[in-house]
Amino acid sequence: MKYIILLFLTCLSLCLSQAILAQTASSDPPAEAALVPSEPPAPPGNLTLKDLPNDDGHGIAVKWDLSPDDGAGAKSVISYDIYRSLSPDAPDSLWKKAGTVVLGVKSYADKGNRESDNDDYLPKKTNLYYRVYAVGAGVRSVAAAAGPVQAYDNWFNTLKVPELIFCVVFLILTVRFINMAKRGIDLYVRPLAGIEAIDEAIGRATEMGKPILYCLGIGTAGDIATIASFTILGRVARKVAEYQTSMIVPCIDPIVMTIAQETVKAGYADAGRPDAYKEDSVYYVTSQQFPYVAAVNGTIIREKPATNIYLGYFLAESLLLAETGVMAGSIQIAGTDQVSQLPFFVVACDYTLLGEELYAASAYLGREPLLLGTLKAQDYLKAIALVCIFALLALRVFTGADVIHKPFDMPWW
């Protein structure tokens, strides 16, 4: 079974890589052109209009054949101007300039605005007419005109197929491993030092009779790292309640504070000590980065917590907090998904959860088979990523294309 899945996934990634190759391999060389002034160039030919695919109904795909003077003939074309109007014989003032493209380009995606009070509004299900001019130095050709055409909204964005495939694969894997876990199959997870440290740290705080400071970072509830931190906070609160020690949770955002209060309260309830929960332990400081840090730093220095836990979204304050914690002599456990801040945590804290480990932490702490199952699914996706990179590179070596920047400029993301 396992091998069949892997085989399937490998085939899938090969197909995808083929698609990526096809996308990146095509690029037109710039057209050669020479200078000839002032005669108006010949107009572009064969103007065709179509509803723009994969959009919400406010775009038209415009295509034409190059003017005979573009790169050949009199070589006088510099660019093409695209105009749109609601009527084929409207006066020039009612033709809205939709865009300009340089010579050698023979298509334009006219993406209008969907708000009717916007200047660039492009109504859906309405007849539209287009004109395309070839523009020379100070002159322009006769218009190539076409229409009517209507814009429709589409029901599926075909450009998102790769994402859909990955979503579905991930979902299937997750559900599969959850089911395995439900059937009681034991799933191995390797130990993570940072996670084990959390347990010890709570014990240490109990011995010292000092609180634990849990900082959710400066993210709002709109940052997924903050949500991940909530899931860990719940488990930490439960242990704190079991050990009968206290915790301080300063928050930077009112909603974060609200969710944190709910989470900590639930953690205490789960531990069977709902009365021990103190509303004041989770409080709002202020909504800005540096005043928040100033206040938390003050708290760390004055309360001297046994342990500081920083999990969530952090920016420059990572080092400000962690160094202050060092001064206060606290054990420090940190984790963030901000790659630029990880170095500071690694340098100043005792344990650091690196990126993905932050998201795995709640599964580790809870040790619930269902959650551990999702870790397994994550690993399979990682294996797919490895296979993908391998496959792409193998293709690269055999096809021999050698331009380092091509994948960086892919049209579809």
């Binding site: 710039p30 050669e32 510099i78 340089v102 010579l103 130095a137 380092i404 920047h405």
Partner: protein, 302 residues
């Protein structure tokens, strides 16, 4: 004078701390703070400047301009806005000085609408007063800004006159003597883009330097510099990164052309405190390791 005082104070202090560390005493963090603060303060008060030495990535740009035969054609593009200007404007000014000093022909242009006004500031503050003999249309010209981002490059790589029927002042290109033997970017000897966003150095490499096989160099704000490193040295002949890169270029310029010494080199001045602080931090890392190995050896002995 200021340099001597600072060197004695900071150097002496560091030696003393090294001595204490070797003896096994731990340095309080406040001492580290004191040193960093004092270093930066001294450097600011005494306006310390250091002879930066150009790193290879900067030196290669300098050498290229230095070694091109007089009369070579160089494009300098202002691809930045006022927010980035403190970091990258010194680079642009240093380029102007160097290029005109070497009697090359300088073609100004800009892919950013906001670059144009910064460009005219440079023309009025640097070029005109310092090079009164440079003649417009012969030694330099200003093509100004054209909308279209990298699309502009797509056109001028085959033909200048299509995109720029006239220069920024409305003169037709054919009326400018320096355009006599210029058809497209491919006739240029060097392209320089100074910028920090999009379009910027990367676009110049991808849409002009690479397809036209034209030597390309760049100057970039510090934040975006790491993203450009991969293009060096194969696609970019050199790159000035942030204030540091600008300072290196200024230092090299003063060394080779001492007449610019009194022109005020802003990047060099900004670098003074930073270099000092770096040296202090490096010294502390060394001291920390000396102390660590010392204590470990002692631990082993006992």
């Amino acid at each position: 004078m200021g340099l001597i005082i600072s060197a004695v104070v900071i150097g002496g202090g560091l030696l003393w701390i090294l001595y204490l560390s070797i003896k096994g005493q731990d340095v309080d963090r406040r001492i580290v703070y004191l040193f960093v603060g004092a270093t930066v303060a001294l450097a600011i008060i005494f306006r310390l400047e250091f002879g930066e030495v150009a790193t290879p990535i900067v030196k290669s740009v300098f050498d290229k301009i230095e070694n091109l035969p007089a009369g070579s054609k160089i494009v300098l593009s202002y691809d930045f806005d006022p927010a980035m200007a403190p970091e990258v404007n010194p680079m642009a000014n240093a380029f102007i000085r160097h290029i005109l000093e070497k009697k090359h022909r300088l073609f100004f242009m800009s892919l950013w609408a906001t670059g144009q006004s910064l460009l005219s500031v440079s023309l009025n503050d640097v070029l005109k007063p310092e090079f009164p003999d440079a003649k417009y249309g012969v030694d330099y010209c200003n093509l100004g800004y054209k909308a279209g981002n990298e699309g502009v490059l797509n056109v001028v790589i085959t033909n200048f006159r299509k995109m720029f029927p006239s220069d920024a002042n409305g003169n037709s290109l054919d009326s400018l003597p320096m355009f006599k033997d210029v058809e497209s970017l491919k006739d240029m000897d060097l392209l320089i883009s100074v910028g920090g966003g999009k379009p910027g150095v990367k676009e110049w490499v991808l849409f002009a330097g690479d397809p036209g096989k034209i030597a390309t160099a760049g100057g970039s704000a510090a934040v975006s510099t790491p993203l450009l490193y991969p293009y060096w040295p194969r696609q970019l002949i050199g790159l000035l990164g942030g204030t540091k890169g600008a300072a290196e270029y200024e230092a090299e310029l003063i060394k080779t052309h001492p007449r610019f010494k009194d022109k005020g080199m802003p990047a060099l001045r900004m670098m003074g405190p930073q270099t000092m602080a770096h040296v202090v931090i490096i010294a502390f890392i060394v001291i920390g390791n000396v102390a660590y190995f010392r204590s470990r050896r002692k631990g082993k002995q006992s």
